[in-house]
Amino acid sequence: MGLDRRAFLTFLAGGAVGLGLTPIPYKFTDDLAIWTQNWSWTPTVPTRSAFFSQVASKMDPGGAGIRVVSYDGRPCQVVGNPDHPLSRGGLSAIAANEVQALHDPNRVKAPLVRRGEKLEPCTWSEAMALLKEKAAAAKDSLAVVSGDDTGTASEVLAAFTAKAGGEFFMAPGEAASAAKATELMGVSGRLGYDIENSDYVLILGAEALESWGTSVRNAKAFAASHPTGGQRTAKYVYAGPVLGSTATVCDAYVQARPGAAGVLAMGLARCLVQAGATAPTRDFAEFARIAQAEFTPARVESETGVSERDLRAIARELAAARRPLVIAGSEFGSGAGAKTVAAGLAVNILLGNFNRPGGTRAIAEAPTVVPGAPGRQAMYGADLVGYLSAVAEGRKSPGLLMVYNANPAYALPRTAAMAQAVRKAGFTVALSAFLDETAQLADLVLPAATTLERYDDVYTPYGAGQAIYSLNAPVVKNPAYDCRHAGDVVLALADSLGLGLGFGGMREVVEAKAQAMGANLAALKKGEAWTAPALVAQSGVSLVPAAADHVSAAKDGYRLALAPQARLALGSATVAPLLGMNAVSAAELAKGESVVQVNARTAAANGLRQDAEVRLAGPEGEMGARVRISEKVMTGVVAAPLGLGRSAFGQSGSNAHTLLSVADEPDSGLSVWTGSRVNVA
């Protein structure tokens, strides 16, 4: 019998049905999926059990306590530390990236020395010999910059600078503004904020839940006072130009122009004085007279955009609260100057909450341990932007400029001039973990250790409500690259120059610091934080410096006020979390360009359309961006993200620091740049 057509079709159909009843096609599909995914370049995961180490984040300006999780001896992950008072188990986006920093592709892997136009690798002994030679030649023509607000490493650098007869600068930020404000007002100790115990928190400008001060701790305090599904126990009010991270969750929001926090605080002070508030200071009468005469509601409305009705309503609420607290600062963590912080402190003093629960506090300074180190206020005494501007203009010419944990060529206003200053200095040394913009311009780059590779410490970051000390030991057995702590480098340099500081390394320094404070060294080494609730009693506090000579916004032909936005997810002044930058928002970066936001009215007045490519131009520089129309931004204001356009790292977007323009603040001698203005076209 032959195979006819019918039989053939029957066989095919029967075969298909039979095959379908077997597991063959399903198993084959399953195997196909498995084997087409079995590529050699897909990594396998580690298997060993986890090991936890506790440190305080040095990248997070708020010093959040973290637990670093290591597998197979490799730190891979960061989780919160529930026992640390500055984090309570929470994380900031930048603290979460501490392990990424360890393996950042932009790390400096070996010392680099400039030969012609290029930076070329050299050995540590060559680099240290060159550094010694340049330091010896420079003598007192030495300038040292540190961007570490919380570590004893800055004390080491400042002590070395003092012994060498050079000039020392701290990178500008809110801690610098507060240090100068307390100096002007005669306040002893460093300024703290007891946000946990306040029942009314008024935030002027400062992004207290994102980038200002101890932001993770602040957020935890906010969370505790706003239980989900329950009654809030504190009211948070924000005044600023953009409905950003902090304003979005606050209980009330008042629109106020960028850089207006100081004038707004003085307007509130005037209302409080009119309502009968006094302060036990010798110059209260003069303060009240200045407030009454100069900070009229008309001026406040003109300069800040806050109406008299709103101003008086806030003042009434402040006066009625049991434990009110006022936090005043820059919207993006720098450039506010001393007057803004001082005016905020003056309002707190009028409210009677200074050194009281839920109020502002004076926290004792840590004892200095490095011989010859200046006090904290002396460390913050000089203005870096003013100095580097003078270098750029040829009025100063340091023979040796050393920069640690700061990136003046990227993260300061007048960015082009700052970069010019780095180039013009006789010899520039960058003590940096990353080959950032400043390091690229330097003559010698010394690879600095990251948080997990070094002995370091964190003492009471700005904004903390009590004295807190954390000591970090290296988490990794061997550093990822041939790096050293900048403190160790400077200690060795001082020894080689015969300026010995009395310590063989940073480990000895931080242990001496812990002992000087009376902390339990063994507990500190386990990663536990040391706290001290004692406050510094005050006498001779002066209010007048808070009221006198506020810088008004310039009327310079630029149409829009600039509101820079800082988010820790985009890094800090020194660090860009490139490996972990998955949290950038479409409101910050689109199609490879920075996004600037204006509201519909501002857009119409300036001929701007959604998604249009524009150029922002200020007195000091310009940048390109795309427009996003958003009602989160106040009329007459353009919001621009900071933290993008890091050319050294090949990052997309533009650097909004180039738009910042500088004004001089009377009394304090600080440069301020929160009132920058731009044109958009």
Binding site: Y26, V79, A96, A219, M581
Partner: protein, 304 residues
């Protein structure tokens, strides 16, 4: 539509939108925990592999400016539309706890599940992940590394569920009755503002059991009947109205299911249409309408 299974334990999340600052630490924590490869452009939805997105919500122009951030993990739906369409059962909802699984070695990348998910909770690896030598140093043991051509999604950090059960067994406790906070995903753990809560939605001892009954609790696109295990809370009606597609003037919906107690249901007119603009890499779903601008200098919202 899959048939709902009545699990004794239903892990779920309650997200308090009024406390989310959009800081993005949940995204960072998720990336490290689950070996989501670095180097992606988060603004490019086609390439982004983030398991969690944060939507940027704005109240419509015209009144006082108001905004909110809405983190969106996988909803772990009670009736998941992704499960029934998967030809190879690479995704399923068959384990006590009610977490929708995703088995990477079984997935062959047809992306039916992505098309069927109304929440855009699933992502697809179009390209080989860039595991540079530096990035490889950061791989954690929790989640296997996926090649290209595979659909991925949030698993509520399912490995942490397994770790918690193991820990309970070692301690001689019942792994089927975990205490509050014995198991929480990485995003919830990292959140500094306490906006995210996690627990067993069926367990009266867990906070989420009470929170899901909050009068201001709602779920996304609830009327589709997917029965999500993620709840949101906002005291602001304009935010709650964004949770579903309401007609102008339509009241917030009445309870439609056994867990649904949504809004006040008072039949108030809409407080004004609102729009959701994308943040953190999510594409725009239509251009937001921009009408009258807010006045500079006027006072803003008050969640009194």
């Amino acid at each position: 539509m899959a048939t709902a299974v009545d699990f004794r334990i239903r892990w779920g999340m309650v997200i308090d939108i009024d406390k989310c600052t959009g800081c993005g630490v949940c995204l960072s924590a998720c990336q490290k925990e689950n070996n989501i490869p670095p180097g992606q452009d988060p603004a490019d939805r086609m390439r982004s592999l983030n398991w969690l997105f944060i939507y940027d919500l704005s109240k419509a122009p015209g009144g006082q400016p108001e905004a909110a951030f809405l983190p969106r993990p996988c909803m772990q739906c009670g009736k998941p539309s992704c499960v029934s369409v998967c030809p190879v059962i690479a995704t399923d909802k068959n384990e006590e706890g009610g977490i929708v699984s995703q088995i990477y070695p079984r997935c062959f990348g047809c992306r039916y599940c992505m098309a069927s998910c109304p929440y855009h909770a699933r992502v697809f690896g179009w390209y080989d992940p860039k595991w540079t030598p530096e990035a490889k140093e950061l791989i954690t043991p929790h989640t296997s590394c996926r090649p290209r051509g595979v659909v991925e999604k949030c698993s509520f950090c399912h490995h942490r569920f397994m770790y918690a059960k193991d820990k309970a067994r070692v301690a001689g406790e019942d792994p089927g009755h975990l205490a509050e906070d014995a198991y929480i995903p990485a995003c919830v753990e990292a959140c500094p503002t306490g906006a995210m809560h996690f627990g067993d939605l069926n367990n009266p001892e867990h906070a989420v059991y009470k929170l899901k009954h909050d009068p201001n609790a709602f779920r996304l696109l609830e009327r589709l009947g997917t029965d999500p295990q993620v709840y949101y809370i906002s005291t602001r009606e304009w935010v709650r109205r964004l949770g579903d597609n309401y007609l102008d003037g339509e009241a917030l919906n009445a309870p439609t299911h056994r867990y649904g107690v949504i809004g006040h249901g008072g039949g108030h007119a809409a407080a004004g249409a609102a729009h959701a603009a994308p943040a953190h890499g999510e594409p725009a779903h239509g251009e937001p309408a921009h009408g009258e601008a807010s006045e500079g200098g006027q006072s803003g919202h008050g969640k009194e």
